[in-house]
């Protein structure tokens, strides 16, 4: 038992070392750390009430300056402050919606893979139907039905991600379920549920971690998309996609309204993708080399 633990720890170490050697992944991680810090200390960097939502018509559509690094928007609000606070929304939506997909999809996939037969068939056919609707459209439909709000956006994006995880977990469960250590744990009297959680889930973590990192990026993108067409976060709350949507009317004279929120999205997604790719390579050394 000790031995097994030690082995596990050293494997984690090895993965971390491989990841640390990947410069691009480390760049992604560094950007993410900065972003998370921005999100956590957003209130310290810029006060919400006075800088982010308070309108100041005298100051409207000002270009970047020492006072307003990224300029001001059509209501005279500081774009830098709004982007910083917007990172909160993006990261929270990203994490929560992916957790929703992961938990629901994971449970469905685990049951489908573990029990096989009819259970598997029914679950996976339902998943197929979900997959037949392009996920952005599915999310739009859900938000359209439930109404535009942050919670509904998270729910919509979370639900549209369920099939992905159901498939990953199902495949992983099927590939490990007949291996000896699982049979061994059943042989010593573990129930199905404990087997699923104790033995199978830890053994299919690798693809899930990779997918989760990449889906946080996808979720942030979807949130911005929904907000952009007016179905997501409602003004005056700062959200990158909503800011872009607002800036559309000033493309000719005030590019900074659309430029900076867009760059914020690009950098965030890029960082997550770099980290996700790095994790995939680190967890599957076969691919590299």
């Amino acid at each position: 038992m000790e031995n097994k633990k030690a082995k596990k720890r050293s494997m984690t170490m090895e993965v971390c070392q491989r990841l640390a050697r990947n410069k691009m992944a480390m760049l992604g991680l560094a950007i993410l750390v900065v972003l998370v810090l921005c999100a956590v200390f957003a209130d310290v960097i810029a006060d919400y009430e006075t800088k982010v939502v308070a309108q100041n018509i005298a100051n409207r559509l000002k270009g970047p300056s020492a006072e307003h690094w990224f300029g001001t928007d059509e209501f005279g609000r500081d774009i830098f402050a709004r982007i910083i606070h917007g990172s909160r929304v993006s990261l929270v939506v990203g994490l929560i919606s992916v957790s929703v997909s992961l938990i629901l999809g994971g449970i469905l996939g685990a049951f489908a893979g573990f029990y096989g037969g009819r259970v598997d068939n029914v679950i996976m056919r339902v998943m197929d139907i979900f997959l037949a609707v392009p996920s952005t459209l599915l999310a739009m439909t859900i938000v359209a039905a439930l109404g535009s709000s942050l919670v509904n956006v998270m729910l919509a994006i979370g639900v549209s991600g369920i099939p992905t995880y159901a498939r990953i977990v199902r495949a992983a469960v099927m590939s490990v379920k007949d291996q000896e250590f699982v049979e061994a744990s059943r042989a010593i009297g573990a129930t199905n549920v404990t087997t699923i959680f104790r033995e199978i889930i830890p053994n299919c973590l690798a693809p899930i971690i990779v997918q989760a990192t990449l889906s946080v990026a996808g979720a942030i993108l979807s949130t911005a998309s929904l907000s952009f067409i007016g179905l997501g976060v409602q003004p005056p709350d700062p959200e990158w996609g909503a800011m872009l949507s607002g800036g559309r009317n000033f493309l000719r004279d005030a590019v900074h309204l659309t430029l900076f929120p867009g760059l914020a999205i690009v950098i965030t997604i890029l960082a997550l993708n770099l980290l996700g790719d790095g994790l995939r390579d680190a967890l599957d050394p076969r691919l590299k080399q």
């Binding site: 056919r125 339902v126 197929d128 139907i129 979900f130 037949a132 609707v133 392009p134 996920s135 952005t136 459209l137 599915l138 739009m140 439909t141 859900i142 359209a144 039905a145 439930l146 109404g147 990026a217 993108l221 911005a224 998309s225 952009f228 067409i229 007016g230 179905l231 996609g241 872009l244 800036g247 559309r248 493309l251 000719r252 590019v255 659309t258 430029l259 867009g262 999205i265 690009v266 950098i267 997604i269 890029l270 993708n273 770099l274 691919l287």
Partner: protein, 308 residues
């Protein structure tokens, strides 16, 4: 093969039924009173009741769904609450424009991505590889609606090369197609590269070289067909995001397609119109996936022999 295609076409039916039920069910969760939305806040209660009765909105979900499906079987997607016209006609009149956008977007993506992916893989770690991989990474990370806005700023507001909206002529097509296709292109490039890298390490590539096959022939005759198998899968999957992306691209460029109609319908709470759009898009996606599966069998004899 014919049998397989027919079988797959028949299998589309339960998918359409499932999808329409899913979307119908989601839309039926919508709070608020449709009749009130149509008639306005000030409408008298009696009028609202009457309209609800007329539209059959007082019946349970399953009955309404059943009625809807009977209509669907006859190619009837219901009547738009907003315009009072047939949703099918409304969607179909806009469909060719969306299809045009999606088709050229996909062509743009595929035509550029596959050669770039191959060159990157065969010249791994070279300058050209690094440059294309940076672009691919940026392409995946860039939201298409933002790219669209940036293209408008650069190419229509400043350079005045292309219009920023409308759908008249090939010039109007250029920016929307780049906007829509870039994300797909980036994804397909990355897949082509990694798949090619995987394939050129395979034993059968070494066998081909040991036979005396020349370098170009090894890459284009032996490696490419094998490498395309995962690429075709990704192209099929990307088509789904292309349809989603079309909605946003249409919004940016005021493209008069199904996407714009969908967004307007969602805002107007025009349930039958939303349902119709999503169902049409999903059927379209399913048909593309069917084509991908057939193409798959064409490329890979191992899959083909399963269907015989």
């Amino acid at each position: 093969m014919h049998k397989y295609v027919i079988k797959r076409l028949i299998m589309l039916i339960p998918v359409v039924i499932g999808v329409s039920f899913l979307v119908f069910f989601i839309m039926s969760l919508a709070p608020g009173d449709t009749a009130r939305t149509i008639l306005g806040e000030d409408a008298p209660i009696e009028a609202i009741e009457a309209l609800n009765e007329e539209l059959g909105l007082n019946d349970p979900v399953l009955i309404r769904y059943g009625r809807y499906m009977v209509g669907l079987a006859h190619g009837d997607l219901g009547t738009s609450y907003k315009s009072g016209r047939s949703v099918f006609t409304e969607v179909m009149s806009r469909f060719p424009d969306t299809l045009k956008l999606a088709f050229w977007g996909m062509i743009f993506a595929v035509v550029l991505s596959i050669p770039i992916g191959i060159i990157s893989a065969t010249k791994q770690y070279s300058l050209i590889d690094s440059v294309s991989m940076v672009f691919a990474l940026l392409g995946v990370a860039t939201p298409n609606f933002w790219l669209g806005l940036m293209l408008i700023i650069g190419f229509s507001l400043h350079l005045r090369w292309f219009p920023s909206g409308g759908s008249e002529g090939w010039k109007a097509l250029v920016l929307p197609v780049i906007t829509l296709g870039t994300g797909c292109m980036a994804n397909i490039t990355r897949t082509t590269r990694s798949s090619m890298l995987e394939v050129i390490r395979q034993d059968y590539i070494r066998t081909a070289k040991a036979k005396g096959v020349g370098y170009r022939s090894v890459i284009y005759k032996h490696a490419l067909k094998n490498a395309l198998i995962p690429v075709v899968t990704v192209i099929g999957l990307q088509f789904g995001s292309l349809l989603g992306g079309a909605v946003l691209t249409e919004a940016v460029f005021s493209w008069p397609g199904v996407g714009t109609y969908l967004v307007n319908s969602i805002k107007a709470k025009d349930t039958p119109a939303v349902l119709g759009c999503v169902i049409i898009f999903s059927i379209c996606f399913s048909i593309v996936n069917l084509c991908v599966d057939i193409l798959y069998a064409y490329i890979d004899p191992r899959i083909k022999s399963k269907y015989k």
